[in-house]
Point group: C2
Chain length 226, copies 2
Amino acid sequence: MSELLSPTYTRADEAFDCLQTAIVKGELAPGEKIGELELCSRFDLTRGPLREALGRLESRGLLVRRPHAGVKVVSVSASELMELYRIREVMEGLAARQAAERMTDQEIADLQATLDSHEQMIDEAQGQAYYQAEGDYDFHHRIATGSRNTKLAQMLLGDLYYMVRMYRYRLSTSTGRPKRALGEHRRIVEAIAQRDGELAEFLMKRHINAARQNIEKKIQEGEITI
Amino acid sequence: MSELLSPTYTRADEAFDCLQTAIVKGELAPGEKIGELELCSRFDLTRGPLREALGRLESRGLLVRRPHAGVKVVSVSASELMELYRIREVMEGLAARQAAERMTDQEIADLQATLDSHEQMIDEAQGQAYYQAEGDYDFHHRIATGSRNTKLAQMLLGDLYYMVRMYRYRLSTSTGRPKRALGEHRRIVEAIAQRDGELAEFLMKRHINAARQNIEKKIQEGEITI
DNA sequence: AGCGGTCATATTGTCAACAATATTGGCTAA
DNA sequence: TTAGCCAATATTGTTGACAATATGACCGCT
């Protein structure tokens, strides 16, 4: 974790980042009860900053605390994961619409460039899953910030994406349809480039809906289990 | 603040609630730099729990902290308030749709009953603004929880509503259109009662959009200032 | 007079000891 | 043998003191 990004990076920030990535990467198993002192020794922290970080993480819904009883990583059911995608659908739809209205030409050009590099990675077919997952994350990240809607970006980047990524890591599965997803990305960017917010919203909603159905199918077929 | 609601109500919880309501009610002015020790003496707390609460509040976007520099209540511009309504539009639209699919008949009956009592309060015309504001909050609150979408309800009740209410208090203005809003509420509940999720979503989005336009107009006319 | 640098101060960040409470194991009695 | 209760223990919640840093004033220089 880069201690040098911000000139003043407090221990609490460090604790927050460490715990968040640990939870997302599955190093802290969901449902597992975990003690404060154990966390302290593990991440070389003291309890003060740790507790402050725990408060933040609880507020974001990544873990739950019961007074005097300890803290455990939140465990979300398959149906709850589907609910997350429903939320993403409407919120990212809005983000796409506002991005179409507000992104600069430069940002749109950059976005198209990243799609090109994503395509190249997929064609080279090495480490597909990883690159596709990161590429997908990168794409949605840019749309969210491009919406110029501070709170919207904050909610997407700070809340939803971390929970979704948590499952990406645990399932260690990308969408499983990289080419198709890339095509959908391209059409969304096209709509944004044409400043057609309504179309961008529609396409984004359909894109996320497709991803949700894809995962739902896999769960029902028993390919993946939560 | 009721210390008896939860059997174990920690100081940090107390601090969190106190500060949140103080911010929402405008007792802590936006932009105002405020010291920790001042907050401690004001709410009779010690710095440990206070800092934990500050972390939570920062995570929720109600205040910002700069290391070694202090904490100040977030100040949101008029345009940012409008952005909040855009988010509400899509999220509460989703909530209404899912509520139509999932609320129990009993819950729907209760919802209709609350609308009746709201109507009565408005007709009696005493303390219109207050009751209408509370009634409106109550209505949207029930829809959010009725969606059975945990994360959605959490984001609406825990994040957005507090920020919106913050402005309600500061402007000390309800929507200014109680009768009309009540009629819109009724039509939404009708759609929910008929289990017509699509219609409920449409009506809810239009309802919030109307509220947004109403506030936007008032701001442009200079009736209210932020 | 205006500007830059330095230092004192006050405030925040951090830490370690103390108090309060939930859990767990054992014990007793039915 | 099992159910319920009680106490010991370990963990969390809280507190006050210590260290580090940003702010603001003062002074000297240009």
